[in-house]
């Protein structure tokens, strides 16, 4: 028998050695320790701290930051229901309740025999085939009452996850509409062979003149980013692919990584050639853990085919390789500087900027961070030529965009459109009937009402990272906004006061209204919180946290007002009545002698 603390340090050395005891790999070490032991014991934390040469408080701080890392036992089976609004619309809450009853559990608590715990998690990126859950980190899709019941039995019988029916874990691509990107005929290496005939400046010039802008939502011109990174002095340059697809309602990167992984890596290698990088990272969100092995197989095949590694395609000195870094449940790591902190094995807190990652990124070296779809589009633009690529889309939004359609429509999935497509066209194509609103680009984006369905997707009008959640006239837009507000409160990193406390206050205010205890005063409080979050938050999460509420208040105010206890604040005494004597004394009874309705 091993002593208590030895149990929790067993097997750690081989993990630590695999990462060369590099403190920058702390998050990867912690993730693997948890996969080994089920959770991270205090003695494991001390041991890792000693072996990596960093204070244990830092190890504990990192382990305490990420949702998928646990400092206490959380059951042999950890069930997490995806809690996006689209999962809820597909009935996830009833399914979770059913499972809790079946297994005699309360959400968030571990069963007394230590077998299982059930809780919710932020959107797992399966909105086109929800409701979805994660069991010990593995995605399960298309939940039904029957499937949930079967899962309950498998857990009770302690059936190992590996022996569960493979169909549970099947993830469909659901590609519904193809365009130049999804229809591409690029064979692995094609783009690189063509690019090797050019020098770095010409590659950057091509990407610049293609008009390609970042597909993660912000839309920064990709060529200008690569140029700035290429010109920045540094001992090393890095390429980072942001595959932390955390925006609720977005799942297009999942499909690209599943079926177009070569194109992703081709684009990253192209970027490496352009900026002079030897090392690249793919930051893969923890929810897509199941893609790790397939992606590693693609990387290995590319190494075998001289498309990665030393002297790529026999070009002497063209050395580049890609490592995959798994996230562990933190939406904020989709923000590029927080992503870099996470890559360095730290808490995913956005950095102060300037300096920007293009000059001071990973390990303070010049780093180009781009979205999965951006790398694919860059490779496509190289293949097509800048002119041809630019001919697709609109003046300020060249090329095509993958849209992740989910919610109330019969054909959810991936749709590729040239930029400039209207919301209405997408709704028609996915078969949405009676659509009342569309949440474009996720909770941090815009809620578009029926009167605005002719607005167009693109940087000129509705910029989008790809999420397109449809709500029909049976949906309560207040509950949609409340779901998004809970999401932001859960995902706030807690660094700055306005976001840490403000998102929690916003959540409690929305809950108060939901409970039927709200008044007009609370709507005013929401507007004030919005001002505070907008003007003083450290990063975009806080600045956009009020958007869902403000947009739905603008278009669907009755959804809020029908819940208010009273539309106006009701004082205990009658203010206007108190002026009656003054009116009598002055002999006035005109409108100016009365309080205006909103003052009374």
């Amino acid at each position: 028998m091993m002593a208590g603390s030895e149990i929790h340090t067993a097997g750690l050395d081989s993990i630590l050695d695999r990462y060369a005891r590099d403190p920058n790999a702390l998050l990867q070490v912690l993730r693997e320790v948890q996969e080994l032991h089920g959770y991270i014991h205090p003695s494991s934390i001390s041991y890792i701290g000693v072996k990596l040469g960093i204070p244990r408080a830092r190890v504990e701080g990192v382990a305490g930051f990420y949702s998928f890392l646990h400092l206490q036992p959380h059951g042999e089976y950890r069930v997490l229901f995806s809690d996006n609004i689209t999962d809820r619309m597909q009935g996830s809450q009833a399914l979770m309740e059913q499972m809790c009853q079946q297994l005699w559990l309360q959400p968030g608590k571990v069963s007394e025999d230590g077998l299982v715990s059930i809780n919710t998690t932020s959107c797992t990126g399966m909105c086109d085939q929800g409701p979805a859950m994660l069991v010990n980190g593995r995605a399960i899709t298309r939940l039904t009452h029957q499937r949930v019941q079967e899962i309950g039995h498998l857990i009770r019988n302690r059936t190992p996850l590996a022996d569960w029916p493979a169909d549970y874990f099947r993830v469909e691509d659901n590609i519904r509409r193809r365009g130049p990107l999804l229809d591409n005929t690029i064979a692995p290496g094609d783009v690189l062979r063509a690019a090797l005939a050019l020098d770095s400046k010409d590659i950057i010039e091509t990407v610049k003149s293609s008009g390609l802008r970042g597909r993660g939502g912000a839309g920064f011109p990709t060529g200008i980013k690569w140029e700035a990174c290429s010109n920045a002095p540094g001992s090393e340059h890095y390429v980072v692919c942001n595959a932390d697809e955390g925006e609720p309602g977005t799942f297009k990167d999942r499909v690209l990584l599943t079926s177009y992984a070569d194109l992703v890596f081709e684009g990253m290698t192209l970027c490496a050639l352009a900026i002079g990088a030897q090392h690249g990272f793919l930051y893969l969100r923890g929810e897509y853990r199941y893609l790790l092995e397939p992606l590693q197989a693609v990387l290995q095949r590319r190494r075998d085919n001289k498309l990665l590694g030393r002297n790529i395609l026999e070009r002497s000195g063209f050395d580049f390789d890609i490592a995959i870094h798994l996230g562990a449940g933190a939406y904020i790591c989709g923000e590029e500087s927080a992503l870099i902190e996470s890559l360095e094995g730290k808490r995913g807190v956005p950095r102060n900027r300037p300096p920007f990652p293009v000059t001071h990124g990973y390990l303070q070296q010049p780093t180009a961070v781009d979205n999965v779809e951006t790398f694919c589009s860059a490779a496509l633009a190289m293949q097509m030529g800048a002119e041809n690529y630019r001919a697709i889309g609109t003046a300020k939004s060249s090329g095509s965009k993958l849209i992740s359609v989910s919610g109330d429509c019969p054909r959810p999935g991936i749709y590729e459109y040239p930029f400039g497509v209207s919301v209405r066209e997408v709704l028609d194509d996915c078969g949405a009937a009676n659509a009342r609103a569309v949440q474009v680009s996720g909770p941090s984006g815009v809620c578009v009402a029926e009167s605005e369905f002719d607005r167009k997707l693109g940087f000129e009008d509705l910029p989008t990272a790809g999420a397109f959640m449809v709500f029909d006239d049976s949906r309560d837009l207040f509950e949609v906004a409340r779901n998004f507000v809970h999401f932001f409160a859960h995902e706030s990193c807690g660094f700055c006061t306005p976001c840490r406390v403000g998102t929690a206050l916003l959540k409690s205010t929305m809950d108060k209204i939901a409970a039927g205890l709200g008044t007009q005063y609370d709507l005013g409080e929401i507007e004030h919180l919005d001002h505070v979050l907008q003007t003083s938050s450290h990063c975009g999460l806080g600045r956009t946290a009020c958007n869902p509420v403000l947009h739905t208040l603008k278009h669907f105010r009755p959804a809020y007002e029908s819940r208010l206890k009273s539309l106006e604040f009701e004082p205990a005494f009658d203010l206007d009545g108190a002026l009656a004597r003054a009116r009598q004394m002055t002999g006035r009874d005109d409108a100016g002698a009365h309080l205006k309705p909103e003052e009374a």
Partner: protein, 250 residues
């Protein structure tokens, strides 16, 4: 001759490398702040020092000073914002000034007075934050922590001990100590540490010294926080100016 920027309409000189906050304090101008400390590299988490620069709001403690900037600070819009941020910090923790050993020495309390905060405004969160009285000489009262990270930086940079760290996230973010037991007695914290001196509120207290200076004769009883901050500003830094452990600093 050094460059200048405009702060509320008057010129403030600055030296290369100074932030707006550093130049303002050195020039005798107070901008309200909590997590900024003149001896440590600013990281800008409390956001109380938010100013408007050429129309955009940003934290003045981290914003590099540049010639010609038009900085607005002492205007009602920003003071209103600061009041709300201070109120948020009050309701997030458990702050009971009348019974607090730090009352009168507390920067949060003094800043609230300076900003004329009259009520907490929001509902109290009343978080459960147990005390740590395990250390023979030092008491930790986490109820009052405002997550400024100054003790984290001081212990790491000056004391070379890394006694403190941060864990959790969002509203559950909290201060931790560097021990497997989670207790201060199992760290190498000592009364002589710099980390003993930097807490702006009343988390880190020396045992046996409670109320040795009467209320009414304490730091901010004598001079308001705006005057104290200016006295403190020119101090020479003990620290390296770069902290590898605190958030947002890299």
């Amino acid at each position: 001759m050094s460059d200048t920027f405009q702060l509320d309409g008057t010129s403030v000189p600055f030296e290369a490398g100074q932030t707006v906050m550093q130049a303002a304090l050195a020039g005798g101008r107070y901008i309200p702040h909590l997590c900024y400390h003149p001896e440590f590299k600013p990281h800008g988490s409390c956001k109380v020092c938010t100013v408007k620069i050429n129309g955009r709001t940003m934290a003045s403690c981290t914003m590099p000073a540049e010639a010609g900037l038009e900085v607005e600070s002492n205007i009602e819009e920003l003071n209103g914002l600061r009041r709300t941020l201070v109120q948020m910090l009050f309701v997030e923790g458990n702050h009971f000034c009348p019974s607090c050993e730090a009352s009168g020495n507390c920067q949060l309390q003094a800043t609230a007075y300076a900003l004329q905060v009259m009520t907490p405004h929001y509902n109290q969160f009343f978080p459960d934050r147990p005390l740590d009285a395990s250390h023979p000489d030092i008491l930790l009262d986490f109820n009052r922590c405002i997550l400024c990270e100054l003790c984290v930086c001081a212990s790491s940079e000056v004391d070379g001990k890394n006694v403190f760290g941060l864990s959790g996230r969002g509203i559950t973010k909290h201060l931790i100590v560097n021990a497997e037991s989670g207790l201060l007695k199992d760290t190498d914290m000592a009364l002589t540490d710099k980390a003993m001196q930097v807490c702006p509120v009343g988390v880190i207290l020396e045992k046996g010294k409670g109320f040795s200076v009467p209320i009414g004769e304490r730091r901010y009883d004598q001079r308001p926080v705006s005057a104290q901050a200016l006295d403190d500003a020119p101090r020479q830094a003990d620290a390296s100016g770069s902290c590898a452990v605190c958030e947002g600093s890299s």
